[in-house]
């Protein structure tokens, strides 16, 4: 079970309190009625699904109830950081040569 830090409650809590809510930083197009079917499909159905660093949303369902974002490595399942909803997408440093990814 994952141990997840809620950036609002400011403590690590077990995964059972949380609900995974999919890829983060997907903005709903503001001109949703005007975009093409292809653009809508990309927004609605298509996902990066990265093997490596993933930006994702979580919700602290059985805690504060709020949505927040996280950076997690999808091979190790280790969290790099969590941050509040609305904060900009963090820029991650590329791992240096000879240094293994987390």
């Amino acid at each position: 079970m994952l141990l997840i830090r809620c950036p609002y409650c400011e403590e690590e809590r077990p995964e059972l309190e949380f609900r995974h809510a999919g890829e983060a930083h997907i903005a709903r197009p503001e001109n949703i009625a005007d975009i093409s079917d292809e653009e809508f499909a990309q927004y609605f159905f298509y996902r990066d699904n990265p093997k490596g660093m993933a930006f994702e949303r979580w919700r602290h369902m059985h805690g504060c109830g709020r949505f927040f974002n996280a950076v997690r490595h999808t091979v190790t399942d280790k969290f790099v950081m969590t941050y509040k909803a609305g904060e900009p997408k963090p820029v991650l440093e590329e791992p240096q040569e000879g240094q293994s990814a987390p």
């Binding site: 079970m1 994952l2 995964e15 059972l16 609900r19 995974h20 999919g22 890829e23 079917d37 292809e38 809508f40 499909a41 990309q42 609605f44 159905f45 298509y46 996902r47 990066d48 699904n49 990265p50 093997k51 993933a54 994702e56 997690r72 999808t74 091979v75 190790t76 399942d77």
Partner: protein
Amino acid sequence: MRKFSGFALAREAMRGHKGWGRQWASPEPRSDYDVIIIGAGGHGLATAYYLAKEHGVTNVAVLEKGWLGGGNTGRNTTIIRSNYLYDESAGLYDHAVKLWENLSQDINYNVMYSPRGVMMLAHNVHDVQVFKRHIHANRLNGVDNEWLTPEEAKEYCPPLNISQTARYPVMGAALQRRGGTARHDAVAWGYARAASDRGVHVIQNCEVTGVRRGADGAVTGVETSRGFIGAKKVGVVAAGNTSVIMEMAGVRMPLESFPLQALVSEPVKPCFPCVVMSNTVHAYISQSDKGELVIGAGTDQYTSYSQTGGLHIIQHTLDAICEMFPVFTRMRMLRSWGGIVDVTPDRSPIISRTPVPGLFVNCGWGTGGFKATPGSGHVFAHTIAQNAPHAINAGYTMERFTTGRLIDEAAAAAVAH
């Protein structure tokens, strides 16, 4: 290939079983092929086999980064059924069941297909209504499925607890008698052997690291850990890693990869005659011919490529198993594992051409791809060879997420995910 038969068995018994030999070749890769299949799981090997058998395309390589059948093919709970709701699904999955019925003879390899019946339990009024709707839809599509009362369910599966004092009492069940199980490893080995016999190269320990495209955008081959291999056509059958491979070709997919766990108990004498699935309490169970109870859990909630998952998922499943089958409360579990399943938004697979000429994809089987292995390979081989889908997979395109013509089994599946 030496044919397996009663006579061959007797002859080898006389010779101390020293003459069986290797069942498939391990050739060095050629510099180029007509078709490269990425992923030597059941679906990929079946695709290669049907390419050779049905379409005469034998200059084929199946590339596998690990070992043959080492991914989800060797990690699933081996359940076979075709009682899906929609016409497209009934067509595809029942096509597979019909191939399962004669598969051992077709590939001359005993895949131990056992139509022992798949029983899906209803625990509340909603389940009863949904399953009865399924039964009617299935019968209209010529797929067998019948309604059982709790007493009839108990008669079919004696260990079942139908006490009305259970937390989620059994209110009835839907039974597909043609459903059952098969030996998952044998499916991979049997297809590899039969494909190899027809000239297909099965190349293990050969990881694809890139997809090369020509000036016109069409695929020209793949970069691998063993160098560049050219190909006129490439079929991606990489399950949980499909998004990764497709990104190498510049194609974004409507997929997310999740861990799905399963576990087996210590082996015991035959005590469980069929497959039982329960959506509401979320568990499915059967007994392997080795005697182990084979138990499937649900997916973990987060995307991952880790091939492992949380223990609480397994505990939740075992809670349900113990509630439904009190006889198993003192069984000891032997081992558990996870596979990575690629899930589409509508929970139906994609068996399709792609925007890249010469690149084909067979993915999105989610939590239930094993049952479709022969049918999936059969129609995907047709799609690659003819450059057009078979009638059965015509609806399983990527474009359906643009046109909106989804095959929305998300709410119609046997278990929630």
